[in-house]
């Protein structure tokens, strides 16, 4: 009895493990005049978690979109479960079981959890076209419990639940749609450590159930933690696919970057004794922040670490004068300052660079204009725009900050890759010669090489005697370049810990307890 049945069982699991869920052969894609993928092939099996790595612009997103029916390949074949398909739409891909979870998530924030899971499915409406509220509510509850063992009120608007839950709701939507393959496109960006752990735990369970997962991320430690294989793309070419057993951090970096990449030793500066920025009794009228006090010494990089939405962003906005409803006693270099507007902040030697995106990028404007905007407004004496001077300024800055990938400085800022855009934005802050610089997530969403460069730039600023504050969700940033870590939780400073390697676990723990 045992022998034959168990043989059958092993056969089945073997077959299942070998089963190809999706395979692409020799995919080429041209947009207009440019070929962005030069013949890429890969194959994802059932139960496999494949990491897809590559610098920004290497073609990861395009490849995924081709696999998911968003773009048509210029050349090459796509196979779903061994059958060749010519996808005409994302709907076809979804019907075949291929789902993409984009970085920004595809959820309608005002709609409820249940509605987000079921919208577009035929169970969403009853016969007359009315929404089948009772069904979708009870089903959602059941699915969330069954797949992820979580209890959420399905009538809650999705915008109100926490970020990890949002991702899980999106995954349930895919699963409910019959997902066989789920692509996570930078889904972990901005998640804190323990949130990532929850997500990974669930991803592993899904893989065990036979799903195939493609995991796109810039964070190599994450890939090492969760992937079975890693495929790397570079400049639109396939570098290779390797099982995780053959890889380590440096090898993956080598695949992405293409050369022997020595992990640069970040030499942290020992800060002086003088206090450059002192913040006392910062308090916001909406009650989020209370009794915040800290200081930044000359030559110091202070890292603000914590879960999302603990008040960090509000704190920096208040110090900078971008948020006025509150009070604080601020001294810069010993002088008491009253900062009510960003303009006053910069005039007092304080700059803020928020997260790269809607708060920092002028999408229509050129590299030169994006670079010069703060300088022209605050430092320059003239009321007129001096294009030649700005161009010279930009050329100097681009050299100093190693900005690459531009053919002309008059092209739009958005034509650069994420990492180079970030360098331009940092240059913008530095051009006004501040004494204290504040950055929000300076290394978020940019590739390895750029991350290292950005960190070097920050260290360089500290070396010049400036004070730097960074808000970051990446513990590596804290350990690599910060002198002290300020842990913020629920609007209060919980602890200030020296940012040394031996304190890594303690810092993480303090932020989550």
């Amino acid at each position: 009895m045992g022998g034959i049945e168990s043989e059958e069982a092993t056969d089945r699991t073997d077959r299942q493990a070998d089963m190809e869920l999706v395979r692409v052969e020799n995919i080429r894609k041209t947009f207009g005049e440019t070929e962005v993928l030069h013949g890429v092939s890969l194959c994802l099996h059932s139960g496999e978690i494949m990491g897809l790595a590559g610098h920004n612009g290497a073609g990861k997103s395009v490849l995924i979109k081709i696999m998911g029916g968003i773009h048509k390949p210029t050349e090459g074949k796509i196979f779903y479960e061994g059958r060749e398909v010519r996808l005409q739409s994302t709907k076809e891909a979804c019907q075949a079981g291929f789902f993409i979870v984009p970085q920004e998530l595809n959820l309608a924030r005002q709609l409820s959890v249940a509605e987000n899971i079921f919208i577009g499915r035929k169970e969403f409406v009853k016969k007359k076209g009315l929404v089948n509220r009772r069904f979708i509510h009870s089903e959602s509850k059941r699915l969330l419990k069954e797949y992820f063992d979580i209890d959420i009120d399905p009538s809650m608007p999705v915008g109100d639940i926490d970020t990890v839950m949002q991702r899980l709701v999106q995954v349930v939507r895919c699963l409910n749609g019959g997902a066989k393959v789920i692509v996570f496109d930078e889904t972990t960006a901005g998640l804190a450590r323990h949130e990532r752990d929850i997500l990974f735990r669930h991803m592993k369970i899904l893989a065990q159930k036979g799903l195939g997962i493609i995991f796109i991320s810039h964070m190599i430690p994450e890939m090492l933690e969760i992937c079975d294989t890693v495929t790397a793309l570079r400049g639109g070419e396939l570098v290779g696919t390797q099982p995780i057993e053959n890889l380590n951090h440096n090898k993956i970096v080598e695949m992405i970057v293409g050369q022997e990449f020595v992990n640069s030793n970040f030499k942290k500066q020992k800060p002086g004794e003088e206090v450059l920025l002192s913040v006392k009794d910062l308090h916001s009228d909406n009650g989020v922040l209370d009794h915040i006090s800290f200081d930044v010494k000359k030559g110091e990089i202070l890292g603000v670490y914590g879960l999302r939405n603990q008040g960090q962003n509000l704190m920096l906005d208040m110090i900078y004068g971008a948020y006025k409803r509150g009070s604080a006693l601020i001294e810069i270099d010993g002088r008491k300052v009253q900062i009510r507007t960003p303009g006053q902040a910069v005039a007092n030697g304080l700059t803020l660079l928020p997260e790269r995106g809607p708060r920092t990028v002028f999408y229509e404007k050129s590299i030169v204009e994006n670079l010069a905007v703060q300088f022209t407004n605050v430092k320059s004496r003239s009321r007129f725009v001096n294009k030649k001077a700005e161009l010279r300024l930009a050329e100097d800055a681009v050299k100093k900050f190693h900005v690459r990938g531009h053919s002309s400085l008059n092209k739009k800022l958005t034509s650069l890759s994420g990492g180079n855009m970030q360098k331009v934005l940092i240059a913008r802050s530095m051009l006004v010669e501040p004494e204290v610089l504040m950055f929000v997530e300076p290394t978020q969403g940019i590739d390895i090489g750029a991350k290292e460069e950005v960190k070097s730039l920050l260290l360089e600023a500290a070396k010049q005697g400036k004070g730097v504050i960074i808000i970051t969700a990446e513990i590596d940033d804290i350990i690599d370049i910060c002198n002290r870590a300020v842990i913020i939780k629920e609007g209060r400073i919980k602890a200030v810990i020296e940012a040394a390697e031996e304190n890594r676990e303690r810092i993480i723990e303090e932020s989550t307890k």
């Binding site: 947009f31 005049e33 395009v62 971008a322 507007t341 002028f362 404007k365 703060q374 407004n377």
Partner: protein
């Protein structure tokens, strides 16, 4: 990655199509009608587009910050009406003129305050002010055309200098001023930043409210100028003249490459846009097509042109995607 073929900056590219279209129209109309390509007709075209152009230049400032002003047409006749009415009642020239100008500036300020303080969307706010302007002009004019008695004003705005209508000279002057402000001054650059990304502009130290107020005041200056240009063409000043120009002032800007969402503005393009609209209308007039039919045709042409713009911009976005 292989290099992307350069298309050049978007507004220039768009305008190439516009220039070609204008050239084509001129050719077609010149060939198919007798009088199109005559000195008199070309002069007439420039003269008839003058008011629209100046109004559109002002509107371009407002569009550049991502707002819309639909009160400019209603405000057009305000300064001339007040000036003419006061002057007729023996108020001396300068006070009458100043009061007229101040009235329009005051409405411009009102536009800005409604947006900045009350937080109303500009479309709604300026809609309200346009109602105020319409009523005001009619009350002051007592619903009758007013005789413009001041010969000097008639000459300065309605006369000619060396064979060129003064209105055309005013148009050229306002074009130069508008272009200079938007491209060569810090203020103009800031307006474009605000339109591009208001939040980022605030973070970078640009004082949003101050710029919005100044933009609307600047717009009011252009409206005042356009008002005198329009009303001094004939000896009678009529309240409500210009109310029909509102939409075309926006269309001219958009055809010329100014984005309704803000962040991009092109004064020369606005001029070309006004020229385009005027040529189409003028050409159709040559064919003795009724004004109502002309409206329909011009409207359709505008849709075609703007669709062309939109498709171009979509294609550009596609090429950028990786």
């Amino acid at each position: 990655m292989t290099q992307v073929r350069k298309f050049g900056r978007k507004s220039k590219h768009n305008n190439l199509i516009l220039y070609i279209a204008i050239l084509a129209l001129v050719l077609i109309f010149s060939v198919t009608t007798k009088n199109f390509f005559s000195g008199t007709n070309l002069k007439a075209i420039l003269q008839s587009m003058a008011t629209l152009s100046v109004l559109a230049f002002g509107e371009t400032f407002i569009l550049s910050i991502g707002e819309t002003d639909i009160s400019n047409g209603a405000m057009l006749s305000l300064s001339p009406v007040i000036f003419a009415a006061l002057y007729m009642r023996d108020v001396p020239f300068l006070p009458a003129l100043i009061l007229g100008i101040l009235a329009t500036l005051a409405l411009g300020l009102l536009n800005a305050l409604v947006i900045v303080k009350a937080g109303l969307p500009s479309f709604i706010g300026t809609l309200g002010v346009s109602g105020v302007a319409m009523g005001l002009t009619r009350i002051i004019a007592n619903n009758k055309p007013i005789l413009m008695e001041h010969q000097g004003m008639l000459k300065v705005f309605g006369g000619e200098t060396a064979g060129i209508p003064n209105a055309v000279l005013w148009m050229a002057a306002m074009l130069l001023i508008g272009d200079f402000i938007i491209r060569r001054t810090r203020f103009g650059r800031n307006l474009l930043c605000i339109g591009d990304n208001r939040e980022a502009a605030m973070i970078y130290g640009i004082r949003i409210n101050r710029h919005v107020i100044l933009a609307f005041l600047l717009d009011a200056v252009f409206v005042t100028t356009a008002g005198f240009m329009e009303c001094c063409r004939s000896t009678y000043v009529t309240a409500g003249v210009g109310e029909a120009l509102v939409l075309n002032s926006i269309v001219a800007s958009v055809i010329g490459g100014t984005a309704v969402s803000g962040g991009r503005a092109n004064m020369v393009g606005t001029f070309m846009g006004a020229l385009f609209i005027t040529i189409v209308a003028n050409g159709l007039f040559m064919f003795a097509i009724s004004p109502y039919l002309t409206n329909i045709i011009v409207g359709l042409v505008i849709i075609v042109v703007l669709t062309g713009n939109a498709l171009m911009s979509n294609r550009e976005q596609e090429l950028k995607r990786t």
